[in-house]
Subunit: 389 residues, 2 copies
């Protein structure tokens, strides 16, 4: 088996873009290829994540169109859709193909245009996102994703005493981190008071507990260790990828606040990498809502079960804290262009592990972990990366 | 590397169904598992093809929902979308995962509900399908897929003298084959006169040159040779899978009627299998329009370039002819539930190679080939299967 490495990374600013999907993707993919020092001719496959361009802008069969736009026509192309975990799954399959010797140089990326400014508006985008909830048991009740994660978080509050103030602390932290990230959708800080004074979207979530709908793209170049050694780029090692699902309807989950698929995927990734939660130096995780971050820090073993809220409030997950979570600002402040989010987490970790993260650099970052979740916390991919320097 | 085998196959009738997507998929997946003699507990991944459920019925994150419905929750699930080549690409990745030892038992399937009776009507479905054409250069002109393939076919007529009568002969053949297939959308035969008397959809195509919009599902179980040897099911060997793309816009293709991606994918599949076109006994290919079958028989090397039309008219590609093409009735008569089509071709070949195809059985069928195309003839997957008995 070959070892897989990330040898190049690129992403657009997340926010509002007027570019077409091919142009937006190119603004991430070409910098990733440049960063790797790889010509388009050397790429032998495109693994793409895009969740909802069919519904948002009537666009399908997108991967070959993007390949044509980048001068890659001819290589095998594939689009993955696994709700918000879309491009992490594209990445996993690219890694597996490189590990197995099926491909040597793979361009992996994600792209989505889902800002309300793209033309649909917040209401329509909320309905489109809700297509990832369960079609038989949930959508007919009117449940959309703020409600899904509100239910999971309410359960956690009931079981562990987590408070709205603690949730707000997650937003404050991620906005603070995002203010250090020039590519973040939101560049401004917020306060616990501002969060709690905001309108309620779905109890317990106020407006600033929720991530935005963003436009954006992210890309990485994955190669074998052999190819990586021939390049000038500083590689990052892909030490472990875990992928699990949980039963979809929330009402069927044995312990909703436990997010079992995250625990299963994390277990796989830790085992493959030969590391544990204590070895992780920097984390990018799926904070689509502040409550989701609380649940994830526990599911990943970074914080003791039930202590995710107090840990955030105590600064344990801040830059400079015990285990910095979402130095990029996370989905909350960096933004959430669905199909691009998973790979964007890997772009941030690549920069962190290379020591290139500027004002938001985590000190002595040698092991990074990404956690990307799809649907009713039903799909989770966890990736462990390690500095190869 | 492990050898991958198909050990179970199942599919629904193609046509009009009132079932939900999970129920429809179960009607293919559970028979496939039964055919393999494999319990749901033994399945360690779901690879799903679904092209357009987002646009058709507002459904995404479908793979984990189907897994939950089948009692497979927990296993890694992924949905592929590559236009009409969707489930062949899911199959390719399942095969690669088994070959690499990443999975032992994979359920691969496709499902789609796109009959006009599902609620959208023919006009809306045509527009939804057109989302797979190029969004910058083609869709704004009003081009839909009858037009895409009419352009390719007109070019072939110009270059090689292919006639509308020869195209009609393809429809007559595939309707005749479909009349022998109890799972076909269309069970009745047609005549050259009836085809030519039909309304023109996009010159040179009359109504009966075009495949229908269908509902349906298909599934196969893929295992390693080691697992296959422990089962009672008769395995079919996956000898080669090729996958290539071409530049997407028709206007940019060097030789539109040559369908280069099919030639590239076929070359890869033949090389991997160690066989050539003369070794193939039975073919399921992507006849979304009669002209597409003419181009594909040439691109696959089954018929000399330029002779696809006369070959169909002379019966060379009929059951009982030199190389039987689409004994199932093909997309033309069996139907085309987009995301299910690629795997349905493999289900037909599995039955043919096992000698279980009833009235449409090809004699001494030991080597089968499937050709599945997506978008502007831009994605093609070619799979070679061989009887393992």
């Amino acid at each position: 088996m070959h070892d897989a490495h990330i040898v190049g990374a690129g992403m657009t600013r997340f926010g509002v873009h007027e570019s077409t999907l091919p142009d937006l993707f190119a603004d991430a993919a070409l910098p990733a290829l440049d960063d790797a020092g790889v010509d388009a001719d050397a790429v032998d496959a495109l693994y793409l994540g895009n969740a909802m361009s069919g519904q948002i802008e009537g666009e399908s069969h997108l991967a070959p169109t993007l390949a044509s736009h980048l001068g890659l026509a001819g290589v095998p192309c594939q689009r993955f859709e696994d709700a918000c975990a879309t491009s992490s799954n594209a990445f996993k399959h690219a890694v597996r193909a490189v590990e197995a010797g099926q491909h040597d140089v793979v361009l992996v990326g994600g792209v989505e245009r889902c800002s309300p400014e793209t033309g649909k508006g917040t209401g329509a985008m909320t309905r489109i996102f809700a297509s990832a909830a369960h079609g038989t048991y949930e959508r007919p009740t009117g449940l959309t994703f703020p409600g899904v994660f509100a239910l999971l978080t309410k359960r956690h509050m009931h079981e562990h005493g987590t408070t709205e103030e603690q949730l707000a602390e997650v937003a404050v932290k991620n906005h603070r981190h995002g203010s250090l990230n020039p590519r973040a959708h939101f560049g401004k800080e917020t306060t616990v008071e501002e969060v709690l004074d905001g309108p309620v979207v779905a109890d317990p979530f106020h407006l600033h507990d929720c991530c935005p709908f963003s436009d954006g793209a992210a890309a990485v170049v994955v190669t074998s260790a052999e190819v990586a050694s021939e390049l000038d780029a500083e590689p990052v090692s892909v030490s472990g990828v875990g992928h699990a699902t949980d039963i979809v309807p929330i009402a069927d989950k044995a312990h909703p606040s436990v997010t079992q698929s995250a625990r299963d995927a994390a277990g796989q990734a830790y085992e493959a990498a030969g590391v544990g939660p204590d070895d992780v130096d920097v984390v990018e995780l799926h904070d689509c809502f502040t409550g989701a971050e609380v649940l994830a820090t526990e599911a990943l073993g970074l914080i003791e079960d039930g202590q995710g809220g107090p840990a955030a409030a105590a600064g344990r997950t801040s830059l400079g804290g015990e285990i910095p979570v979402n130095p990029s600002g996370g989905l909350k402040a960096k933004g959430h262009p669905i199909g691009a989010t998973g790979v964007a987490q890997l772009v941030e970790l690549t920069e962190q592990l290379r020591g290139d993260a500027g004002d938001r650099q985590v000190e002595a970052a040698d092991v990074g972990l990404a956690h990307n979740l799809g649907g009713d916390a039903a799909t989770t991919l966890v990736t462990v990366l390690e500095a190869a320097r």
